[in-house]
């Protein structure tokens, strides 16, 4: 059996009782290290679970997953994923491959930023499509995500912006070499995301509904005890420090429900 187990968002104790019991009976437990960041270290998880964990990096998840799945025909293997296991396409793909190999699978769901974002007081059913904001480089500054935010805004919907994560990314120079070298991990902050959005707005040929004085909500470490939430203009969000990763940004709809306004007031 191949188990995909969500770890939730906070610390070791955010796993479900069901997930913990499965980990404790599995023959092998892998910990995914690349689609998201762990809020606590591997050692703390190992101690809490009472099991050794094998870190499954990008290469293992994308290139060598078949070997693991074949092994799961005979053995019980779990892959632990921060948040909910079906947030990323990689895992849907894994489940399809498992089916091909006739390996049984089970998913253990958990909270993810996609539902826990409601902690800022905005109603989940008023969110439109989610966007990802990528790190810009000198020569690559994609801005199509802004049109999606604008599309939601015009329909009076909120937008959750997932901010870029670079973990175990090969350096450009090493791509052609035999030995891979990796960049330092980096996680986009609310400040950096706001800066890119303000640049896009300032470069627009004409005014749109979203301006630099539009409201934005910055969130960090959602689901952990030290989570931070701040609501201010996009302009001011460029200076807001929300501490260690992970960060997320929300662009709220223009017309908020009175309850949403009341709730947000505490974060202004």
């Amino acid at each position: 059996m191949f188990y995909l187990i969500g770890l939730g968002l906070g610390d070791a104790k955010d796993i479900t009782v069901k997930g913990l019991e499965i980990i404790q009976k599995c023959d092998k437990v892998l910990l995914e290290g690349y689609t998201s960041i762990l809020t606590v270290g591997k050692e703390i998880l190992e101690k809490f679970y009472g099991r050794p964990l094998i870190v499954a990096d990008r290469e293992l998840c994308e290139s060598n997953i078949d070997d693991i799945l074949k092994e799961a025909k005979e053995k019980d293997i779990a892959l632990l994923v921060v948040g909910d296991p079906l947030g990323a396409t990689t895992h849907t793909d894994m489940l399809l491959r498992a089916k091909e190999f006739e390996v049984e699978t089970q998913i253990v769901h958990n909270a993810s930023i996609m539902n826990a974002v409601s902690c800022c007081g905005l109603q989940l059913y008023n969110f439109g499509e989610t966007v990802s904001i990528p790190y810009w480089t000198d020569s690559w500054k994609p801005d199509s995500f802004f049109d999606k935010i604008l599309g939601n805004y015009k329909r009076n919907l909120h937008t959750l912006c997932l901010l870029d994560i670079k973990v175990k990314e090969p350096t450009e120079e090493s791509l052609t070499k035999k030995i891979r070298q990796y960049m330092e991990p980096k996680f986009m902050s609310v400040k950096e995301a706001a800066r890119q959005i303000v640049q896009i707005i300032n470069n627009l040929p004409e005014k749109t509904d979203i301006a630099v004085d539009s409201l934005a909500i910055g969130l960090s470490r959602v689901g952990s005890l030290d989570q931070k939430i701040m609501a201010t203009t996009l302009e001011d969000m460029q200076q807001v420090e929300l501490g260690p990763p992970l960060h997320s940004l929300v662009i709220p709809a223009p017309n908020l429900h009175p309850l949403e306004l009341d709730y947000l007031a505490q974060y202004r």
Copy 2:
């Protein structure tokens, strides 16, 4: 301290370890019985937690919550909610009132249908706004949710439709009486939802992008071991039996990603 604890979607063991530890140390534990349905009975939960539970019905949550919050100034009180605690406006409102009374609060997140719907293979970030489909009566047949589905569809986004739940609803006749009488609980099935949508489509003055032969996905008991998923046309979905509640319906975007198509194929 007032704790809002999500129970997840499946059975007793879908609570997080953190949530379970809080329950076990609380002075009083309330179980919310009206915004959603429990997948297991109160007795099973009580046995698993080793704690008695007080069922908090609609009246308690809406009219008498202040008394509970005042009590939480001195004591530790937890309110258990199926899914994630911030899926419903009632709880945002509770947190605001707690702030008013200067009662400390903590939220323990968990999976909800809003993120676990990804089990059908559709990517979460391609979902537009969520709609609720209400039970129609002879004289009240609201159809504004269909415009929202259509709005998502035109932008190539999926729509999650939450289906109506009637639990502890006072009968119309008893509203004016001193003694309240309640209707039998009922939960809208995928079949019933599809029938209402097909009626709306058939009554439209002209054709829209969504027709009776458009694809729909029915889901039941998501997150539990006996969850069922079925993908077929809206027309055929009117006959599909997916067993006991809760049910949800998804109207997928017209152009699906190859991976989404591959994954859905197993449910056709």
